[in-house]
Symmetry: C2
Subunit: 420 residues, 2 copies
């Protein structure tokens, strides 16, 4: 029965996607505006559903961080509504033609940006993702099927229902926002089998959710895996700048994927840089775990184990290593980095250029904090997440990354002669 419900949503999304693919920006933006309005005018219903979700989650003794992700209040609903409006104001990527060229036979060939089709978004506790994901998918011309976490079912049911209704009332096709109204664990498994109906799956949540989806999906997956970011302080770097960047990347918001987890310092600047920087980090509550050379320079810190170099703490903990060369730093990053974001602080132009070229990550920084790895900060507008994959999209996933390109060819009757 749950299989049939999921299948029916996907079968309704398919024709909706075809209509949506050619909907004008004006119609889509008006629908997003209506969706924002309806969320705001029904905030009491949203908050009351959320209060019931929250009460149950408390009774089930979920941890505080989980409850915080689940909880909505006036200001969070306001943010959700503002997010939908912001997406409405972003430029529409659909229909963009990114260059055309003329062939010797007169054919004019170019690439046109088009939606992917139907996108399935699987997420966990945050009810705000429901509005976020729907807005990004619709604006990029895609139909969306939403599957939120069990604990947020009442909040998501209200939000999803309001969004779907408002979208259709504003002229978007029926079925363009599908909401899997079920707490059955089988629902996700069924969704992941529908490769003929769904074009892309985006899982948003913890490592376990993402791994499960990647391992079982018959549909292509765009995944945001862990962020194990390094900052490398090069020989000759501006050490005041390096300290500010390292401090910002570790302390400003330690629980996010683009925070620094490992600090690498060239041996020639280690004795000048590390003692003061480590003192400042520790004064801000950071637990520092160092290699032997780091510990010699900053007595009293814990010894880093091999496991530390591969750990995404998502917390006020930092591993620190003194390296003998630029090459050793780049090698350490290649071995231990997760491919999300990596940074060098340097005054040397050649090494800055080498770092940009040689380090394999979604975002590579010179003299700036990895914390900027974010669609908004990059000027791409709202984002669906940050891809750590190499295929299709790498780094922040905004509207453009929810589309693909097709070739368009304009002729005047050309036919092909393979013998030529």
């Amino acid at each position: 029965m749950i299989a049939q419900m999921v299948r029916e949503l996907a079968m309704a999304a398919r024709p909706a996607a075809r209509t949506l693919a050619v909907a004008s920006s004006e119609v889509k933006d008006r629908a997003l505006g209506a969706m924002a309005d309806v969320l705001w005018s029904n905030r009491a219903a949203i908050l009351s559903a959320n209060a019931r979700d929250l009460a149950e989650a408390k009774a089930e003794r979920h941890p505080t961080a989980f409850l915080d992700r689940l909880a909505l209040d006036d200001s969070r609903v306001e943010k959700m509504v503002a997010g939908v409006r912001q997406v409405a104001h972003l430029p529409d990527p659909v229909g963009e033609i990114t260059g055309m060229w003329r062939r010797p036979n007169g054919l004019l060939i170019g690439r046109m940006r088009v939606p992917l089709g139907v996108i399935g978004v699987i997420y966990e506790a945050r009810p705000g993702v429901t509005a976020d994901a729907a807005a990004l998918c619709l604006k990029s011309g895609n139909a969306v099927i939403l599957k939120g976490g069990r604990e947020a079912i009442r909040s998501n049911r209200v939000i999803g229902g309001l969004l779907a209704e408002a979208a259709v009332a504003a002229g978007l096709p029926k079925g363009c926002v599908g909401f899997i109204d079920s707490v059955d664990r089988e629902a996700v498994a069924h969704l992941l089998t529908l490769s003929g109906f769904v074009d892309l799956i985006i899982p948003r949540g913890g490592e376990e959710l993402i791994r499960t989806v990647q391992q079982t999906s018959a549909i292509p997956v765009l995944a945001h895996e862990k962020g194990l970011c390094h900052i490398y302080v090069d020989d000759g770097a501006d050490l005041a700048m390096a300290e500010e960047i390292a401090f910002n990347a570790k302390v400003e918001r330690p629980g996010v994927c683009n925070a620094m987890e490992s600090l690498l310092v060239h041996e020639r600047v280690a004795s000048e840089f590390l003692p003061t920087t480590i003192r400042r980090l520790r004064e801000s509550g950071v637990e520092v775990r160092g290699c032997p050379r780091t510990r010699a320079l900053a007595p009293g810190i814990t010894a880093a184990t091999e496991a530390d170099w591969d750990t995404e703490y998502l917390d006020l903990i930092l591993s620190v290593k003194v390296v003998g060369s630029f090459e050793e730093a780049v090698g350490h990053i290649a071995e231990h980095g997760s491919g999300l974001a990596e940074a060098i602080v340097t005054a040397d132009h050649a090494r800055a250029m080498r770092f940009l070229r040689e380090v394999d990550a979604g975002a590579v920084f010179v003299n700036a904090s990895t914390r900027f790895t974010d669609g908004g900060e990059f000027g791409m507008g709202a984002e669906m997440g940050i891809s750590t994959q190499k295929l299709h999209a790498r780094g922040p996933v905004g509207l453009t990354e929810l589309t693909c390109q097709k070739f368009i060819v304009l002729g005047e009757g050309q036919i092909r002669d393979s013998r030529k």
Copy 2:
């Protein structure tokens, strides 16, 4: 044992890919030149190995078309060598920066094109793919692991060995060309499990190979599925042009994926267009299967069944349907097309633009033959195949499609304040 051999090739390819990613175009092009030279000067050894493959395949009573794909002669080796040289002369996509923008905080952000890493290519009888795939992967900065068909093992062993040796002698890293020297069916299964070592799998071959790879791979797959291409002749089209295009798309080379399989004709031009066009097609040996209205206009042809609209004949067979409107044609294509290439012949500007926008395929043509769907014809140089997927790459897969883009960020010490 076979598992270990495949794993060792992949483990050698990984560090090779890191070195190759930053190799200069000059070094890569010189290596490709050396690879071409060594193939040519060892053509006697290649042809003798191929003769043994061919003798065995004949003894195993493989069909003629299969033997033709397997067979090499002087001219085919010459073509293989010329293909490698052609790839050497193509522009290097690696390192290209496709636009940079400045953020209000002064950060300079752009996208840099980089290799994918390690690419596994799985193919069938054609030994020429060995050279082709190696050249395209190396030029785009990727290490490659090759797995050819059992029947071509002797030919591929010689070609793969020569290529790997020449590449390393010319300065490319050891392990950059891996050749799975085994006829064990398990080899492919093992390769598809190595998701930590291999970044992309490209299967080249029949439907069955591609389906098996897609269903079992733990690694992302870039696949070329079937091509079921339509040509729609619109009301008011230049019918002489339409006839030439339809004839070319069906007859010039019927066994390839970009040939036409279904012809759709607007009812207002059907009686003028179909009788002469069908006569000409039949005179060239094409079996025409028509809808009832087509049969009324061209007596003596077979009746098309429902299955015909979904069949990729790859042969001198054509299904023909009379449609009542532009919308019916576009709807038929949406239902039955395979997303490879679709064409309209029209004199109406608005419908030409609508066709480009509304038809969902890798390549959409106005007034030209679908037979042009090809990397060479599109001006992209040699190609690895034609992707029918939407993710990552759609249409011809050339050097650029074997790369991805990372963000590069140049700062002057910027740090982030999330409260702003």
